[in-house]
Amino acid sequence: MFAIIQIDNDVSGREFRRKMRPKYEFICKYCQRKFTKSYNLMIHERTHKSPELTFSCEVCGRGFKRQDNLKQHRCNQCIWR
């Protein structure tokens, strides 16, 4: 516990200490918080990002974050959907 707090306070020594404590290999590129598992870092980093547009309308190509938004969407070309 104590050692970790020291790392937090000591930016310059970070590189060196990271080698000493391989436990904290995964550092968030947005906020520099430390994680021990790469998947945990991935989950955390999603918080920093803007939502992805995964679902897209096959007619007009517009992207949506959610399927229900896609279903509700009406555009000029696909009004008949």
């Binding site: 516990m1 520099q32 918080t47 803007s50 995964t54 190509g61």
Partner: protein, 742 residues
């Protein structure tokens, strides 16, 4: 220097909440929420500065942002995320212009999903159609007076605006281009000269600021797209190089006591900082932060400064560069379809990553804020306890919202830069008592919930920061020993109303709801997070000490902690049952899901907390059967599936979007299920729920979800690596079918 600026590059201006709307809204012209104007001639004069043609699409936030915000709009997407407009609401509501809040459906976006609401408030000189009356006549008179002062240069401003709406200033005569920024000729004892901004009429200033805001909005949006109209770049350079001393002049507008001018000037100035980035004069920042600690507090200036800092801190970089985005992005679609875009526009490419980066200006402004922080904390503490005036409370609320934004994971600030802002939190826990106004309670609870960023961060870390743990301990102690729950002012008292956006505020109008559910939700979530953090910290302390002799102490510690945690959760259980009038026998898992049923991000984070509490506390510690039943994660999941109508598509939406921590929840829940398959099966049959087979119901949803994920993965459409979840779903399916798995 110009070179340096040319390289600047920024993401689109939409703060996160607005950004969400891009994806949400559909794309038709009937969604525009333009303001309806009476036909007394007002429309013509005002159209130049804040009315957009009907064919400007609602989706095109950049264009409408000015319009909406100018009218003090409350663009609210979640009741829990109101910080930006809270304080304005109070301010407005306590004045007698409350009636101006339209209820008519013509102001709401009927099209969109449940989570959007927009209400507009009349701006000065604006008359909303529901609002005929005496006020109307007086405003027409005011307007006539102002018209006489508007010189012919107004035309250039209008031309300028019409070009801006088309998002291109190419082809605009240089005279017209510069005129709106050079100001108006006035004649005084010294002869003819250019008037300072502060000498302009309110209408002219608002018109000017609206145009500048739109200019910045277009710049930032095009910046995000990778190409900016060269003339827009030129005119923004005029600002960045501070020709005509415009920067100081805009800052000086905080002297005016017009709340609309103040509001817009703060917004313009924050956009300016985001465009200029670190190419700024440090004195400007010093001026701003000096407003925070003026000895004889000037609340208007203080709030002005807080708003500017808050906007810069909250600025959301779009992290996927538009050039990497699939063609499908609706950014281009909405504007090209409805507005004539000048195809001859000469653009300048802006695409290097460095020019995107706002961390420089964010860092500068955070450093400036830090220098005033201790003094500011003292001042705010004093205001909370000693000054109940609307002006003071507005500053308090803006301050708390700024604090929350500063430490928010979403601000993308370095945890090293924000460390100083974690001090002093404990003083504010002590202020939570029944004398504190509900609206400040709410803001403080939001702040603490943000500090305890469990689902996004802390749940995923092995070592938790000490200051964060201390806050969690304090909350647990206050609930256990100091009746924190009982002092929560969630019941509406005489003379108050529960506003679904803002919370409990003074009002004479009666409401249906007698309780402020948002306050309850924030309080309970905070307690659950605090408990989960306390347990996690105890466990990681122990796992860190490899010395065998400490094991006994750990187990002893854990038993003590388990006892107090049980005590705290029992209090939560009773408290929620009483406040929401549940039958005393209702299972805890059920009341939690129902408490949060209209707030999915809270609900899912609460589920992560209870799951982690359950797995953390039962580790090496025998628990009382009633306590085990209370925390049964399977029961919570079954209740949750009922809320989402057993619809696997909704679960998929939760997984794909990052608005909730559902990915983390599902991952952990599936791991728990795999490890405790027998418990899972037996829990599905118990709970006295009904004779329906919850095992089949639950597994059907999970198997459908697996198929849907599979489909997206095979088309390469899943936005991140979902394999760990997919594998767990397969394992659970195999267990369900009684198959062996490897």
């Amino acid at each position: 220097m110009v070179q340096r600026h040319q390289k600047n590059k920024m993401a689109s201006e939409q703060p996160l909440k607005k950004k969400l709307r891009r994806g949400n809204s559909s794309n038709s012209a009937d969604e525009t929420d333009f303001i309806h104007i009476t036909e007394n001639g007002v429309a013509n004069d005002l159209s130049a500065f804040h009315l957009f043609p009907a064919n400007v699409n609602e989706d095109d936030i950049t264009l409408n942002a000015v319009n909406l915000e100018f009218h003090g709009s409350k663009s609210v997407f979640r009741t829990s995320e109101l910080s930006e407009s809270d304080e304005k609401c109070i301010e407005d509501k306590t004045e007698d212009d409350r009636k101006d809040y339209p209820t008519s459906s013509c102001y709401s976006n009927a099209h969109i999903t449940s989570c959007e609401n927009i209400s507009l408030q009349a701006a000065p000189n604006m008359v909303i159609c529901t609002n005929f009356g005496k006020k109307n006549e007086q405003e027409t008179e005011d307007l006539n007076k102002q018209q006489m002062m508007v010189d012919p240069e107004g035309e250039e401003t209008e031309t300028f605006h019409s070009y801006l709406v088309k998002q291109c200033l190419c082809g605009i005569p240089d005279r017209v281009l510069r005129k709106p920024f050079e100001g108006h000729q006035i004649i005084d004892e010294n002869g003819s000269r250019l008037a300072m901004l502060s000498e302009w009429s309110t209408q002219q200033v608002l018109q000017f600021l609206s145009n500048v805001q739109l200019l910045f909005d277009v710049y930032l949006k095009q910046n995000n797209n990778g190409h900016i109209c060269s003339q827009i770049v030129n005119i923004c350079n005029i600002f960045v190089h501070n020709e005509h001393n415009l920067v100081e002049q805009i800052l000086s507008l905080c002297e005016t006591r017009d709340k609309y001018v103040n509001y817009l000037a703060a917004k313009v100035f924050s956009s300016f900082l985001i465009i200029a980035k670190t190419y700024i004069n440090n004195e400007w920042l010093e001026t701003i932060v000096s407003f925070l600690t003026i000895e004889n507090t000037d609340y208007v200036k203080m709030n002005f400064a807080l708003e500017i800092i808050k906007r810069v801190v909250e600025w959301k970089n779009v992290d996927i560069h538009v050039l990497e985005e699939p063609q499908s992005a609706d950014v281009a679609g909405s504007s090209t379809q409805n507005v004539d875009i000048n195809i001859n526009c000469v653009t300048v490419p802006y695409s290097d990553a460095e020019s995107y980066d706002t961390s420089g200006i964010k860092g500068l402004i955070i450093k400036s804020l830090e220098s005033k922080w201790p003094e500011l904390i003292n001042k705010v503490q004093y205001l909370i306890t000693h000054n109940s005036s609307v002006e003071a409370q507005t500053c308090v609320l803006t301050f708390l919202a700024l604090w929350e934004s500063t430490i928010s994971v979403k601000a993308n600030l370095s945890v090293i830069d924000t460390k100083p802002f974690y001090a002093h939190l404990e003083n504010f826990v002590g202020m939570l008592n029944s004398n504190l106004p509900p609206i400040i309670w709410k803001q403080l609870l939001s702040l603490f919930n943000e500090v305890l960023c469990y689902g996004s961060t802390l749940a995923l870390q092995d070592m938790l920061p000490e200051d964060t743990c201390q806050l969690a301990h304090l909350i647990v102690r206050y609930v256990k020993d100091f009746r924190l729950l009982d002092s929560l002012p969630y019941r509406r008292s005489e003379g108050y109303t529960v506003n679904s956006f803002v919370g409990t505020i003074p009002s004479t109008q009666p409401t249906q709801s007698n309780i402020d559910k948002t306050l309850l939700q924030k309080m309970i979530l905070l307690v659950l997070k605090s408990v989960a953090i306390t347990i996690k910290e105890t466990r990681s302390d122990s796992s860190d000490s490899s010395v065998g002799s400490e094991d006994y102490d750990f187990s002893h510690d854990m038993q003590l902690i388990a006892r107090s945690i049980r005590d705290v959760l029992k209090k939560v259980d009773v408290f929620v049952k009483v406040s929401l009038e549940f039958h005393p026998e209702t299972p805890f898992s059920k009341i939690l899901i129902h408490l949060f049923s209209d707030q999915d991000d809270y609900m899912i984070e609460a589920m992560v907390c209870t799951l982690d509490i359950k797995t953390g506390i039962s580790y090496q510690t025998p628990l009382a059967p009633d306590f085990i039943a209370m925390l049964n994660p399977v029961h919570s999941f079954i209740e949750f599936l009922k809320i989402v109508s057993h619809d696997a598509e909704i679960l998929l939406d939760y997984l794909v979007s990052n608005e909730t921590c559902f990915l983390l929840y599902l991952l952990r829940f599936l791991k728990y299920t795999r490890r405790n398959w027998d418990v899972f099966v037996s829990s599905c049959y118990e709970g006295g729920a009904s004779r329906t087979n919850e095992l089949d119901n639950t597994m059907t949803v999970l198997i459908r979800l697996k198929i849907q994920i599979d489909r997206l993965v095979s088309k390469n459409l899943f936005p991140y690596n979902i394999n760990p979840v997919l594998r767990l779903l397969e394992i659970c399916e195999n267990l369900y079918e009684g198959n062996e798995y490897s």
